[in-house]
Structures are given as C-alpha cells and as structure tokens.
C-alpha cells in the first residue's frame, strides 16, 4: 500500500478503505510542448495555466495507477479514447529553481481543497463529476542543462472521516448478473467522458435503473437503494484508484444527513480489451460504511484537508528531476544522429568496422585551403571531430567558391585568417567538433631566416612538433612542396601517420608516407614505403625559383581537389581499419591480383599512392619503397634531427639545397639526375611497379 496517505496501516478492528495514488506518467511530447510554451508563450509568466491530462481505466494488470500528460495537454480540449478519462490540471512553471523549491505547498494544497469543496457543495460536480479529477503540476525547466524539475499534486479531500470495508472486495460477477453487467458496460460506453461516475438505483422488485450522478439528491429524497459506480484507474484487487476518492467524498457529502445511506455499495468499473472483446471482469464491488465525525453530520462549515502530493521514485515526499539533454539539446541530437548514421554503415555494410577507433583519431590538417577544407569535411563525415587547422594566409575573394569551408563574409575587411575561419565553419556545421586553429608559417628548407627572426621561428618549430606529437595523423595539404619537408621529417621521427595530397591541373597524387614494417615479404612490404620526397633526386628548394606543380593548385580543375581530398580521407580510414594500421603493406596496381586478392582491411585495399588523371579518367596505384638517400625520411636525416634538434633544422632552413643532398649522399647521384618531380610522368609511362 505504498501510495496511500491518510489511513493508518493495519489498525485493529475495521479495515479502512485505501486508494491507490496516481503515478505520474509524462510523455516525452509533453516536455517538448512545455519547452516551446515556455519559450514562445509563457516567457517569465509564472501564473497557473490550465492544462489537462488523462487516465485510463483499461491498464494492464501489472501497471500502477497512471495519470498521463502529453503534447495534447496544452490544447484547448482534452482528447480521450474509449478507455481514457480527462483530468483537469493546473501548471505552474517557475522561473527559478529556488521559486520552484520554496513555493508554498500547503497554500497550494489548501487552495485545491477549497476548490474541490466548492465544486461539491455547489452541486457543480454532481453535474460534471470529472471536475473532481484534478492535478496541479509545479515545474521548473532549466533550458541550459535541460533538467526538468517537477512535482505533481493529485488533490483529494480527506472526507468523510473514514470509509470502512464491510465485506471483502469481490469481483463484479459476484454481485451482478451477466445481463446486468453488460447493461452497465453498454451504459458506460455511451456516457460522455465528463461522467466518470454514475448511479444504479435498485427498486424493491429487484429492477435496476442506471442514472447519472446528478440524480443523487433525488434518489436520496425518494429513499431508493443505490450503488455508486466510478470509472476506476486502478487495477488492484483490493483498492480503488485515486479519482474514486473525491467522488466518494461528494457522495458522502450529499448523503451526510441521511443515516440510511451510511452503508454504500461501490462499483469500481474497469475495462480492457482481451482477444477483441471488452472485458470488465476485474471490476470490483466494495461494501463500505461511511464514518462521519459529529461535526461532519451537523452542517459542517470547516473545509476538509486535501492530500495527494506524489512521492519520488524512492518514496520520499519531494520533487522529481529528469535530465532530458539527450532528447532536447540540439547539440546532443546532432551528435546522436551523426553517430547513428555511422552505426548504420557498420550494421548494414561493414560489421567489422571499428568506429570508435576512427572517431577517436586526431587529425592535424596542415594547409586550410582547397584540400584542407574538403579533407576536414570528409573527416567529419566519418565522425572524426578532433581537428587542428594550420594555415598562414587569409581568406581572399577567390577562395570561397573552391574552399568549401569559407564564404563571402570571410573575405571582408582584409579576409579572416584561414585556420580561424575553418574552425568557425566546422563548429557551425557540427557543434560537436573539437577544433583548434593555428596561424603559422611552416619553416622551409632553402628559405633562410634572419638572426632576429630565429627565436620566433624556433617557437614555431616547437609548436609544430607539439601539434604533430598530440595528433595521430598529419595531413600535408599545403600549396608548396618544400613546406611539407619539415612535417614529413617530424612525422617520420614521431612515427605518425602522414597523409599527403598534391594536385596538378587535372591530375592528383594521394599517398600515405611509409612507416617501417617488420616481417619479410616481397619488395612492396618487406621495406618501409616511401614518402613524398623519396622519389626526388633533388632536395626541396625554393620553389619560387623552381616551379612545382603543387604551387599551381589554384589553377587546377575544381573537382580535382575534392576527389583528392576525399581519397586522402578514405585511404586514411582504410589504413586505420587495417590490422597492421600504418604499417600495412601496400596494395599496388602493379600486381595482377590487386583486384582479386584477399582484402585485409574491411574497407578494401590499402594502396601506397593513388594517382589519378582526370582527362583520361584513369587511376593507378603505384607503390614505392623508401629511398635510402631521401632528404626527409631516410635514417640519416632522422638521426641527425633527433641528435641535433632545431640546430639541424636551422642548418637546413638556412642552407642551400645541397646541404641535405650532401648529407644523404644525394649529391653523388645529382649529376645525372634531371629535375624530375613526382609529377613529371608522361601519360604513356607505365606506373606499374616502383619508380
């Protein structure tokens, strides 16, 4: 009997009737509707608003006595179906948690008692008994944290003094014949919903007449034997539900001066559908004795007390709190929707896909131009949201049409710094990103710096080292090739995944830098794969003198950057899903079986390089091993960097290209080399095999 309030538990002697208190049941649509009302209509208005709820007399056997509010609670008229009855509610939404907490509950309870008593005394409730089915909802909505605090009062009058069981409760079939029951059932089906209680008058000859409750005074006047019937939300075998209580109070009030009505038969009418048939067999019949205090029978003037505050889930008298951020906070909704979208891919297509691994990958995007923007967008598509943008320029008027994170307004007033504009854009696109911006010039070999600038450049290098250290992947997407040298070296030294993309007018290169693998195999996987500079036989130099195609990214076919950026991200994700990760051996189109051999990454093969030629819609997948005299990733250079640190880097930056060439032994080869670059490949040349 956890939800009754007034009657003392198990007293000796007569058993007092107890009522099952309502349990609040809030549909998620109610909270959405309340939120919109608060924002659009109520504002700071704290006055009580009229709302409505409903209860069912057809609940399943295991359920508590629920009262429901939903999105329709705020509409002008209650909507009910065949099993449900209206509840008249008041909503008082407070502006602060303090006002909610400190509101005078006793005052509210007394006010409700007063209103209920007036409805009974005036006879208004006899005409419309559902007016006695009431609730008050106190609420506070924290729209920052989406925590909803609420407390329901289901006011019920403590009147009469007591109702005492004269017999044990019994099922309706034991008190009425089948014919009488179907008569009652049909009557209820036709009753308007505000008539949640009615009367059966019994005549001396055994005939019965079903009447509206408004006929009670007349029946009493005629001294007819009467049964009170109430539509009952409870499903318990020994208790009626809460709404029955006020109806009994009204009944008692109207018979208080007629001692012959101190004994009353109560029908708790319940119905549910079972196998397509209306079933009322769990309705109860109770024989009750009404006990008044002397005052109550002598034209009492005192207003009865009311009770009915809902308890918390733990049974304490107090308010409830529910955190709805998962369904209300648009940021969380976006996160869930994006997450579901990715999960669908796993459920549907790639069950082995390790999404958490992908989603926790941190990416450093060096270069926030055409490639950087598109790479970032594609990474977000995969749920990779830890992004660090680096660039050294500002958004200019020609950029937004190609650089998909920027818009016209970013170009105004001299242009926004690209890394910052990129971060702002990804935050607009998806607030769940964790994006940071660094505007910096990446030091380059053969671009000497003055002594006065050395301290500042030193800081830049330290920052770049730190950024590479804290990320898992480095994307090289700058528009000069020599600016890729330093991050290639640092990435190789720190064993990070380095992804590279470079563009020609209608061709592109996408590659992953090699990471030394162990184990034996053929030439494509026995050794470390090459880096961007491995194929060079010249050290990176000042490309303002020596033309490079990377420099020309602004005159590429616009689709090229999108294709290359997308391939770079897809290649990364495929690598991440490969059991050997960055050390995955390269699949190459040089091998005949590259289209048919077993695929180790669930997403497909993991080439070393993807080179595409848009004019012929041709794609090849070359694989090259690392060059032992590489100016960026050879052991000699890495060792030198790791031993001498920034001093070594400054030597490279300040020297001519030959410094690195001498160091690696490239100078010896230099004599017979052409100024070949990764791009200098004629169309009829076969890319099969390593170059």
């Amino acid at each position: 009997m956890e939800s009754t309030h007034t009657a003392p538990p198990e007293v000796r002697g007569p058993r007092v009737l107890q009522f099952e208190l309502f349990s609040s049941c809030i549909d998620s649509g109610f909270w959405s509707a309340l939120t919109r009302k608060k924002l659009d209509v109520y504002g700071l208005d704290e006055t009580a608003k009229s709302i409505h709820g409903y209860y069912s007399i057809g609940s399943a056997a295991f359920l508590p006595c629920f009262m429901n509010v939903d999105h329709a609670s705020f509409e002008a008229t209650p909507s009910t179906d065949s099993h449900t009855y209206p509840l008249h509610g008041k909503l008082q939404n407070f502006n602060t948690i303090e006002k909610f907490r400190d509101s005078d509950k006793q005052l509210i309870t007394d006010g409700e008692a007063n209103e209920l008593w007036n409805l009974i005394m005036s006879g208004e409730a006899l005409v419309n008994p559902s007016l006695l089915s009431r609730f008050t909802l106190l609420s506070f909505v924290d729209l920052k944290k989406y925590i909803y605090s609420y407390w329901f009062l289901f006011p019920a009058l403590v009147y009469p003094d007591a109702l005492v069981h004269e017999t044990e409760p019994r099922p309706i079939q034991e008190a009425f014949t089948g014919e009488e029951i179907s008569h009652i059932t049909n009557f209820v089906a036709k009753l308007p919903k505000e008539q949640n209680a009615f009367l059966i008058a019994h005549d001396a000859d055994g005939a019965m007449e079903i009447l509206l409750i408004r006929d009670l005074p007349l029946i009493v006047k005629d001294n007819r034997k009467v049964t009170l019937c109430v539509c009952d939300p409870s499903v318990r075998a020994d208790n009626p539900g809460w709404t029955v209580r006020n109806v009994l109070a009204m009944f008692a009030y109207h018979v208080r001066s007629s001692p012959e009505y101190r004994r009353v038969q109560l029908v708790c009418f319940r119905q549910r559908f079972r196998d397509g048939l209306r079933d009322v067999s769990h309705s109860l019949v109770l024989d009750l004795r009404i006990v008044f205090t002397p005052n109550q029978t002598m034209g009492q003037t005192l207003i009865p007390k009311a009770v009915g505050w809902e308890r918390t889930e733990k049974g304490k008298l107090g308010s409830r709190h529910v955190n709805l951020s998962a369904q209300m906070d648009p940021k969380k909704l976006a996160e869930q929707a994006v997450d579901l979208n990715l999960k669908l891919m796993r459920w549907r297509l790639v069950p082995e896909l390790d999404l958490p691994l992908i989603q926790r990958t941190k990416c450093l995007i060096l270069g926030s131009g055409t490639l950087g923007c598109n790479v970032a967008r594609c990474l977000m598509g995969w749920g990779i949201f830890d992004l660090t943008f680096v660039d050294n320029s500002v958004v200019s008027f020609s950029n937004p049409v190609r650089q998909s994170l920027f818009s016209f307004s970013d170009c105004l007033d001299g242009g926004k710094e690209k890394s910052i504009a990129a971060v702002e854009a990804v935050q607009r696109i998806f607030p769940g990103v964790c994006a940071t911006a660094h505007q910096m010039n990446i030091p380059m070999p053969g671009h000497p710096i003055s002594e006065s600038m050395r301290g500042k450049v030193d800081e830049t290098i330290t920052l770049l080292e730190a950024l590479i250290e804290k990320n898992d992947v480095v994307f090289l997407l700058m528009d000069t090739r020599e600016s890729r040298w330093l991050p290639t070296l640092i990435g190789a030294s720190k064993r990070k995944i380095v992804m590279n993309a470079a563009l020609g007018f209608d061709s592109y290169l996408v590659m992953r830098h090699g990471m030394s693998a162990d184990g034996a195999g053929d030439e494509t996987n026995s050794k470390k794969l090459g880096c961007y500079f491995c194929n060079d036989v010249v050290a990176p130099g000042n490309s303002t003198r020596d033309r490079t195609l990377d420099q020309q990214c602004t005159v590429t076919r616009p689709g090229i950057a999108m294709i290359a950026a997308a391939l770079a991200v897809e290649l990364l994700v495929t690598v991440l899903q490969h059991p050997k990760g960055a050390e995955a051996p390269a699949d190459s189109s040089a091998r005949d079986d590259y289209l048919t051999n077993d695929i180790e990454s669930p997403l497909g093969i993991v080439p070393h390089q993807i080179r595409g030629f848009l004019a012929r819609h041709n794609t090849v997948l070359p694989a090259t091993t690392a060059f032992d005299k590489c100016t960026a990733c050879s052991a000699t250079v890495i060792k030198e960097y790791e031993a001498r640190g920034h001093d070594f880097l400054f030597d490279v930056i300040n020297s001519t290209a030959s410094f690195l060439e001498d160091l690696t032994g490239l100078t010896k080869l230099h004599a017979d080399s052409e100024k070949a670059e990764v791009w200098d490949l004629s169309d009829d040349e076969s890319f099969a095999g390593s170059e």
């Binding site: 549909d27 649509g29 955190n323 869930q336 579901l340 669908l344």
Partner: protein, 191 residues
C-alpha cells in the same frame, strides 16, 4: 506509390479494425498541424520488466506512429520509447529490449534496424526513429494486389522488428471481413 486519399482510406479501414480488436490505435493530430500528411495514427505499447525479483518494474512505453511520407508517397513507421518521467530510452537499450521471438530470423530484424534514422517528430518535435521508406512502395504494391487491409499487412511485416505487437485478432477479424465483402460485393459499405 500511394496517394494521400488511398492512405486516408487505408487508415480509416485500419482504425475500424483496431477499434474492434481494441488495441488502442488512434488518430493522432495536433491543433498546430501544418500538413495533411501529418494525419497520423498512433499506438502506445507498455513494456515492463523487472531487473531483479524485488525491484520495482522498469516500465517503458513504446510509441508507434504512422504518417504519410510525401517524398516517397508511402506510409512510414516511426517509433520511440520513453519512461514514465518522459525521458527517451536510448536506441541501444531498445535494441536489447525488443523480443527476439517476434521475427524468426534475427537477420530480418537487423535489416530493418539497419535503415533507422533519427528524425524530429512532425507533431511532437521530439526525436523519434524512422524506418526508412525505400522498400515500402514495392511491398505495398505487391500486397495491394491481394489484400484489402494493406496497411495492416505492411505494419505486420515491418512492425515486429521494432517491437510492435499486433494481435492475432486482426487476422481473425480481417479474414471474416474478406468473406463478408465477397458476400456483399454488390453492396459496398461506405465508411
């Protein structure tokens, strides 16, 4: 393809059946309704489980909505579930809760789940899961050639995968109806 009028007619037929089965499908609308496509039907299904023998039951209300998807011109099934305090139950919990016996093949159930997306409920404005309607048109075209209660047939084919229970009474009632409609072919009943 289903026209809006055909959808309305099917909804009316279905609600009539549901009224007789008594499983609580009802028309669901709102005063601030903006489009006739939002003419929805809804059913609430209560699920209760006890995590331990003496714990109070964990009660969850499954909510099923059908509305007319204009873009695909087919009915679409939406569902969500909330606790008595109005908080929505996360999808992973729902996936666990839905009785496995409802569909013989686990893979069939997964197929439906694979197409879920999270949308904003057109009337309630809270998140709700939607079954993708891309297969619905083909299914309905097939079913309509031999079933008058195509909406019911469609619901009973996709619903169980997301926990929707449809009473066997539907089968009995609609079977009787088919016999009746054959007998009264010359006197079509208008609703």
């Amino acid at each position: 393809m289903t026209t809006l009028e055909e959808y309305y007619a099917a909804v009316a037929d279905f609600l009539e059946l549901s009224e007789r089965v008594g499983d609580g499908w009802s028309r669901f609308s709102s005063e601030d309704i903006r489009s006739p496509c939002f003419e929805m039907i809804r059913r609430r299904q209560t699920h209760s489980r006890r995590l331990t023998a003496d714990a109070p039951p964990d009660i969850i209300f499954f909510d099923y909505h059908v509305y007319f998807n204009e873009a695909f011109a087919v009915p679409q099934l939406l569902f969500s579930a909330c606790r008595p305090d109005g908080s929505l139950v996360p999808l992973t919990t729902l996936h666990e809760l839905i009785p496995k016996h409802l569909l013989p093949e686990a893979s069939e159930r997964e197929l439906v789940w694979e197409t879920l997306s999270q949308i904003e409920h057109p009337i309630l404005h809270c998140p709700i899961y939607a079954l993708h309607p891309c297969q619905t048109a083909a299914f309905i075209r097939k079913i309509r050639s031999f079933s008058k209660s195509w909406l019911l047939s469609w619901l009973s084919s996709v619903g169980p995968a997301v926990g929707l229970e449809l009473s066997p009474q539907y089968g009995i009632i609609s079977h009787t109806d088919n016999i009746t409609s054959i007998n009264t072919l010359e006197h079509p009943i208008s609703t």
